[in-house]
Structure formats: C-alpha cells, structure tokens
C-alpha cells in the first residue's frame, strides 16, 4: 500500500546516492569551524530527502497515517526539547536523543524478527542490531541521568555491580542467541529474553563509568547507534541507511578516541576501570576524585572568565612554556578578561626564576602580583590557572601541621572559583608531598606538557 504515486526503485536508489553524498559532505563540513553550520544543514537536507524518497517509494507497507503520526509526534517532542533546553544541559540532551535513535533501531530489529527472520545471515543481523540498539538506548538514558544529575548511584555501589553483571550476562546471552537458538528449541521465547537483557545490560554498561567520562561514553554510544543503523540498513537492504549509519559509526569511534585522548584517558581505562577498581576504590575516595579536563572544555571556561590568575611554577620553566603563556595572557586580555600572574617567592628552583622567564617572554612587570596581594581577593578570581606549579599552591602548607612544607605561605588558589592545574601526571613537586588541591571540588586537572596544553588553549582562542 502506498500513500502517493510510487517512484521507481531505481530513481529511489539514485536519490539515495545523492543523499549519501550530502551526508558525507555534511559530516566533513561539520568538522571545520567555519563550515560547521552549513554542514549540519546539508546533513539535515540529506535526511529530509532520504525520508521523503523512502516515503514515496514502493516499500511502504505500514499505514502512512501511522507513519505521519509518528513523525509529527516525534518532531514535536524533539523540537520542543531541543529548543527549550538550557544551553548548559546540551550534553545530556544529546545523550537522550541518541538513546531514542538506538531505541528506534531496536524496534526495527524487533519488527524484522517478527516478519522475516528466515535466512541465517539476516537472523544474525537481527540479533546484533537488537542488541546494539537496546544497549545504546538504555546506556544513553543512564548517561543522561548521570549528566543531568537525576541519577545518583555511586560507581562502587551494589546496584552498579548488579547491573554490570547483567551486562556481561547479556553479552553471553547474545552470543548464545546468535549461535545456538537456531538449532536448539527452547521452552521459552528466547528473543523476548534477549530484548529484556539487552535493555538492562545497557544500564550496566554505563553505570560504573564516572560522570566526568560521560562525554566520551556518549560519543561511543553515538557510534553504536550509527552501527546499529548500518546493520538495520543491511537488514532492509537500504543504501542510505548503510552509508549514513556506518559513517556515524566510524566517525563516532574516531571522535571517541580523540575525546578520550584530549582527556588523557584511554578508552579501555574509561570503560572498565570503574568496574574493576570499584572494590579498591573506597580508600582513595577519601582524598576525593581527580577530575581531568580537556583543552576544549578548559577553553570554554576560560573564554567566559572575567578574571584569570596564572600561577607559574617550575613546570613552566621545564616545559619552557613562558612564551605561550604570555600569548595566552594576551589573548585572554584581548577577550576582555583581567589577567594577573601570581608569582610565589619560591616558585621554580632559584630566586626570581619565574621573573627571568616571564621577562624573557615580555610579560610586563605590573601584572605580576605577590601572594600577599592576591590571596585576599582570591575569591573574585574566576579561574586560577596553575602551570606546572605544585608545592607553592599546596594547601597542606597551611592546613596540615605535619607536612614538610607546613608553614610556607602559599598562593591560595583553592579559594578561586575554578582551578586548572596543568601538569603531566599526578606526581609530586620538589618537596615530594601529595597535593590535596588536585582533589578539590573546584579543581580540574589538565594533563600534559604545559607547553602543549597552553599551546592548545592558544590555538583554540585563535580559531
């Protein structure tokens, strides 16, 4: 049954090719600052074309009104959410939408299972599509919950462990479903069980991962939903689904890797460490959690700061980052931010070490301030950027009488609204003591060589 006059399959396929090209071009353009908006538009156009052509094609069997109704409902809900949502909660929205996309594929696979699971190849496809779609859905929903802080389940809690176990069970069951159910007959509806396990397993997949890693996970889930769509395309022998789906699958994967790198994490680390370490975590929990940040997020925060305090230390000297640091300072000022440099008397390894380097880089003297002058107004500082300094910003010098550095006046960056600490690892400074600053609520660690990190920020500003 067809709604309007049919167009031929050939024509449909030709137009699919065209839409695919648009998708490719769109996603390529999305990757560049100045063409991104246009790229998004092109990809939306491609989607529009693909949908229209399909709708006019000969394969439609469902009542077109049902379809239209679905589209209208979906469009309304989607648009409303997209336009109403606060800018700050965009990441969780993406997670939500992504979950719905996964859910759609889940239903597609289900439907296909019901209608034509005859040949082995298709059967396998259906199992996989179901699984990926389902995991994407429930995983995304959990990610949404975590990001919007509606879901407050501890990483190490019992519930988490339970769900994680179901996740592994669901994986095993999937394998079983693929290889065995065709030959063995079962006393119950194995597929319904797969559906259920999948949905629950997805929860277990994301639950043990920390909130800070959610962006990476969302990107991964996004890649999954692309792969699911591609498999659905194979199932339905639909070109445009295959192309668009696998494009998203692949580019999402790359993006995931890039994002993880920017956060100085490996994907394996993100996905599995939470689970594996959940038992041993409790002790380190006390000192708090280290929250890494990547360059682009740091940039976004700096970009919106109205006062920034830069605290250079020995690490800046080692990285010979003084020139880029000055450049960053200048760019911030050009951006309307007030920039000061907090120079601790013993930063570096010789008296006046920072002065030598900053003078070399032409940082004017009048933006250099001493701890005594800056500490009282620290709470007006939006972002304190600690560049390779450690001991001189270590709060235990004031708080922990036992510490070897106790008694040294420090630059009290922990009182700033946000603190970025740029260093290469969690290792300690000259005095060899751990720094509680790194675990504070308002601290973000930007790992990497200081020159590279600052260089990254500078490029961001210049783009």
């Amino acid at each position: 049954m067809s709604f309007l006059e049919n167009i031929s399959t050939e024509l449909q396929n030709l137009i699919y090719i065209f839409a695919s090209i648009l998708f490719i071009t769109g996603i390529k353009m999305l990757g560049k600052e100045d063409t991104a908006v246009k790229g998004n538009f092109l990809s939306a156009l491609a989607m529009f074309i693909a949908v229209i052509v399909t709708f006019l094609g000969p394969e439609i069997t469902v009542n077109p009104y049902i379809i239209l109704a679905g589209i209208v409902v979906g469009a309304l809900i989607g648009s409303l959410i997209a336009l109403k949502v606060k800018m700050t909660s965009i990441p969780e929205m993406v997670a939500l939408f992504n979950g719905f996309g996964g859910l759609a594929t889940f239903f597609i696979a289900w439907s296909e299972f019901n209608s034509n699971a005859d040949n082995t190849f298709q059967y396998v496809l259906i199992m996989i599509t179901t699984y990926i779609g389902g995991v994407t859905f429930s995983g995304s929903i959990v990610a949404y919950g975590k990001l919007s802080e509606k879901l407050r389940i501890q990483k190490g809690s019992f519930i988490t462990k339970l769900f994680t176990t179901v996740f592994y069970a669901s994986l095993i069951y999937l394998l079983y479903a693929i290889f065995l159910t065709k030959t063995l007959s079962l006393p119950f509806d194995f597929y319904i069980l797969l559906l259920a396990l999948t949905l629950i397993g997805g929860i277990g997949f994301v639950l043990p991962i920390g909130g800070g890693d959610m962006p990476v996970v969302i990107s991964l889930l996004n890649s999954f939903s692309g792969i699911a769509a591609a498999f659905a395309g194979l199932l339905l022998t639909n070109n445009v689904l295959i192309v668009a789906g696998s494009l998203v699958g692949a580019s999402g994967l790359i993006l995931t890797v890039i994002m993880a790198k920017a956060m100085n994490r490996s994907i394996g680390n993100i996905l599995f460490v939470g689970y594996a370490l959940s038992s041993t975590k409790s002790s380190s929990e006390e000192t708090g959690e280290v929250k890494p940040i990547n360059v682009s997020d740091a940039y976004l925060i700096l970009e919106n700061a109205s006062s920034v305090l830069i605290i250079p230390g020995y690490g800046m000297a080692v990285a010979q980052a003084q020139h880029v640091v000055r450049e960053l300072g200048e760019l911030l000022e050009a951006n309307g931010t007030e920039v000061k440099y907090g120079i601790h008397p013993v930063a570096g390894r010789m008296p006046g070490h920072m002065n030598v380097l900053l003078a070399e880089a032409n940082v004017p003297y009048d933006v250099l301030v001493e701890p005594d002058d800056v500490n009282p107004m620290m709470d007006t500082v939006d972002v304190a950027v600690v560049i390779g300094a450690n001991d001189v910003v270590n709060p235990s010098a004031t708080e922990e009488p036992g510490s070897p550095i106790y008694g040294m006046p420090i630059i009290e960056v922990h009182n700033a609204r946000t603190v970025f600490v740029l260093k290469r690892s969690m290792s300690s400074g000259f005095a060899g003591v751990q720094n509680p600053l790194f675990f504070k609520e308002n601290t973000r660690m930007l790992f990497g060589d200081a020159k590279d990190s600052i260089g990254g920020l500078v490029s961001e500003f210049k783009e």
Binding site: V318, V346, P351, V356
Partner: protein
Amino acid sequence: MIISALKSNNSGDQRSPIHKDTVKNLLDLGIEICFEESIGKGININDKTFEELGLKKYKREDCLKNSDLIITNQALHISELALMKKDSTVLGMVNPFSNKDFIIECSKKSVNLVSMEFIPRITRAQKMDVLSSQANLAGYVAVIEAAKHLSTALPMMMTAAGTLKPAKVFVIGVGVAGLQAIATAKRLGARVEAFDTRDVVEEQVKSLGAKFVKIDLGKTGETDQGYAKELTDEQINKQKELQAKVCQQSDIVITTAQLFGRPAPLLIDNRTIDKMKPGSVIFDMAVETGGNVEGSKVDQIIDRNGIKIIGISNLASQVSDHASLALSNNYNNWITDFFDKESQTINFDFQDEIINNSVLVYAGEIKNERFK
C-alpha cells in the same frame, strides 16, 4: 624587647642588617629598634630616614649594652661580647666556620648566638635562608663584573662592521648562585653552558634555557639539605680534565662550587688556565672558602698570561641595597616566627627544627654538634 642593628665591622661590606622598607614588620610587633649611627650609608639611607620611621640612633657601644637582640651581617669582635647583657642574643651572618673562637666566647659570656647560615633547607625556612638570598645576588653580580672585565660584548651582534660573536659563558656549580649567573648571562645574550655534579641540576639548567655539559663522574650525590657531597680524588681529576675542554672555548668561566663547611674543591688548575684564550675571564665565586681556581685571590684580579682571574669577596654587597633588603627580610622572618608576643621575648624552642639548627649557643651552652 630591644633590637639593635649594627654596622658591619668589615669596611668592604656595604650591606645593612635593616632596610627602610622592612622595619615596619618588627615595629608592628611592638619591638623597639635601635641602630648604630650611619648604618645605612652603604645603601644610601641616612639616619634621619630611619629615625623618621621610629627607630633610635645610638653609638655602637650603647647598642651593644642595651639590647636584647643584636642583628649584624658580620661576627662581632670578641671583645665586644663583654659589653653585652647576659642572655642577650646575637643574630646574623656570623660565618661560624671561620669564627670558632667567637662561638666559644659566646658560650662563655652566656650570649645566645643565632647563625643564619645554619638555617635548615626546609621549605618553611626558605624565607630565612640568607645563604640563598645572598648567593642569588652574588650570581647576578658575578656576571656583571665578568662582563665588565671582558674585552668583548656578551651578546651576538651582526652589524655592518662585522659580526660580533656572542661570548661563551661556562658556569661550574649550579646552586643558587650558579643558577642566577646562568640566568643573567643568558639575559645578556651569551651562550651559556653549565655543569654540576648533582644530577637533578640538568633539568634546572635547561629550565633556564641553557645547556648542561654532561660529564659522567660515576656516583655523585647530595646531602639531605641539598648540598653536594664531596667527590673522590679520582672523580675530581676526571672532572677537571673534561671541564678543561669546555673552558678552552669559553670567554667567561664562573665557578661556584662549594661544600658546606669544608674548603671548596679546586676545579680549575693552571694546566687548564693555560689552555684558555687570552682575554678570557675566570670568576671564582668560591674564593672566600678556598677557591675553585688555582691562584685566585680574595679581592684581587690576577692576570695570568692575559687571562683574568677574578676573586671578589662579599659579592652581594655590590648590590648592597637589594642585599640589605633581602637580609633584613630574612632576619625579620626569623624573629617574627619565634617572637612571643605575650612575653615579648624570643621563644627558644629546641623542638623546632629551625631553632635547633640555627641556634649555635644558648644559655651558655654550645648547641651545635660541629662546634662542641
């Protein structure tokens, strides 16, 4: 409590133990400060200025007689101790290793003695570390002096009248003074190389953009205070030999190698000097503790076949104003940390690491093992 600041009894020392920019801290504690007349001469601060700040001017004798605490940049004459009140305190740079008599006399006269040279190298005591604060300035002065005596300019200049090559500066011993020397020479545009026996120094040298000369001497080390350990004879010889090559190509060699409480190692002998280019300058910063350079003499410029060997004592005194500022801050920080506002006295708490290290004599007793 009454604190008196004394002039250096060494005419070459221009520094003052107090500075107009720093006295306020002590006055705020309720301490009365006296000073020996014309104490600020070397730093262009006249007595009136100090008096206007609320300090009292006295003769040296009167200062000694009336004070609870004496601050000074040089050890006093032994005879002067007799003038002092019992259980009063002398605080300052007293060069304990060459003034053992003075220490003994203090214990006899029951005058407490605080040697700021013995401030331990712990983080919290950095603000009192006079050795660092003066060595730092000394490193700067050494380069300015060496530059003055060199017959070429330090930076490279490519000009219409030919290319003037940059001077090569080689810094041996990269402690506080060495680092500042590196920084200053780098600033002036010289090519700077440096060497030290301690391994950690390599990164520090690079952190100033200079080059570290690698000389493998086998196992070397540093004490828990960050001072270098003494080398074996074999190591010293190896070092000398390999250093000679770098010296040969250098226009300025600055040596700063010191060993806390022991004579400085001889690092540059005449064999090396004779290989150097005429017109080069060797600046021996360790000259006061025996010298790193063969033939270097305190406060003399020796000319050996066109090579100038400079030894200047009390380098920091050349920038007397900054040196005094730093010193007075160091002293103030010590006093402030151990001043008991209630009793208006110094709290000699030997549990405290700083007191334990820096107080050589207390209540008639020599406290430091080395001088017992």
